[in-house]
Symmetry: C2
Subunit: 260 residues, 2 copies
């Protein structure tokens, strides 16, 4: 059991979740998933990021042993103090998985006429990104794709907000919108000035729902005539919805539209 | 213009947004709304919290003067450094309103057969609470009501997450669920094991959508047979949705159900 607070394991984990974590994650290809919920998905799910090292406290080990045989995993036991030093949270659950970032290629997606994608353009808020991935998982979206300049989907707050959905829904980062549109999918975005209501949107082939930056919206949409603008009817006074709330409504709709 | 970093104005604002802010807000009846968006609503909206003091930097003053004549407000000009010392944010917008917490009474609500309420039971996450108020505003919900033990709706993160909707949608805090049910409203909650799909939910009178704690759900629902359990159909793998995402879908539905 690792008990030294000078252990290089602590430094390694802290580097992956610290303020310079994005750079560290990119160069190492690793990220950190904390807590039982993510560990469960990482151990059990057949898709998504694989576990490189599973750090557990003695009490954390008991919890993960209830999920799965640990024989196939690189498990390192650490003291409660070492876990606390590694962890982002104030009361760590005693389970922290260092996982490898999957090298997803957009080319791995086969279009079949009913695929549904979500594209996030320069989205910044980690809570929004995680919530959108979680909703995408719930509503059977085939992939969540982000543009260059979007929040790092493997940052601790995003990972936590996905509540394990990062192991169910493929994500693709740093993809230009033009690359997605070149797939020949039906593309639409939300816009207050949209002529058509979301309720009346018909999906006729593989499609992508595009969402812009929280404050600035979708800068590229203006020039792209192939992107249909739809609106969510809002009888109330608010100017707009929270981005993840709006995206969730759209995904709920996509899951409930009968295929045509 | 206030330039001293020892000004009691700084201490007063910091007390309202600090770690003991809930207590301070309760005893003073005041809260802090930062930024142009909230200031605009506070100045212009005819409902919601009233401005007690409007702190502005010279550049902040120019922004708010474009919204409204400042004659009717208690405006105090402060230096950029004083604003920075007062503010929660790293790059303050130069506008900070100290507002009075409205003393809303549930009895002020007149039922008319078509009222729609949201009740939050022991909700904890400020981002969720703010997002729900924002969605409630968008979808014309008549009030958002919280239980004892819920997050303080006047905490800085909730206020910010409402994006100004706190000035449109009445909120009522510290109300027991039994008090709401005693109004005789149609009550329903989301439950994974619900027999009826949200899509099939008919609303026949004033209604309340009830949402439980992020982790524990709705503890009180079990014993309350008058609360209908409905579910959001989720074709995907996620166990559940983020609370504010789920609540937003429900409110979207309530806004789109034809009255019967």
């Amino acid at each position: 059991m690792i008990e030294s607070l000078n252990s290089p394991h602590i430094a390694r984990v802290k580097a992956l979740i610290g303020s310079r974590g994005t750079k560290e994650r990119k160069s190492s290809g690793l990220f950190v998933a904390e807590g039982l919920q993510c560990a469960r998905e990482a151990m059990v799910a057949t898709t998504g990021p694989r576990i490189e090292t599973l750090y557990v406290t003695p009490s954390g080990r008991i919890k993960v042993e209830q999920i799965s045989d640990l024989g196939g995993f690189n498990v390192i036991e650490v003291s409660d103090d070492v876990m606390k030093a590694m962890s982002e949270t104030i009361t760590p659950q005693g389970i922290l998985a260092v996982c490898s970032i999957p090298s997803n290629s957009l080319e791995s997606i086969t279009l079949n006429g009913t695929r549904k994608f979500v594209y996030l353009s320069e989205i910044q808020d980690p809570g929004n990104a995680g919530t959108i991935i979680r909703s995408a998982d719930a509503f059977g979206i085939d992939a969540v794709i982000t543009s260059p300049g979007s929040v790092d989907l493997y940052s601790p707050k995003v990972v936590r907000s996905t509540a394990g959905s990062l192991w169910h829904t493929p994500v693709f980062e740093n993809i230009e919108l033009s690359t997605v549109l070149a797939l020949g999918v039906q593309a639409f975005t939300l816009a207050a000035e949209g002529q058509k209501s979301l309720k009346d949107l018909k999906i006729t082939k593989d499609c992508v729902a595009i969402f812009g930056n929280e404050a600035r919206g979708l800068a590229t949409a203006q020039g792209v005539s192939s992107i249909e603008q739809v609106k969510i009817s809002m009888p109330g006074n608010a100017e707009s919805l929270n981005l993840s709330a709006a995206a969730t409504i759209v995904m709920y709709h996509l899951a409930n539209i009968p295929s045509s």
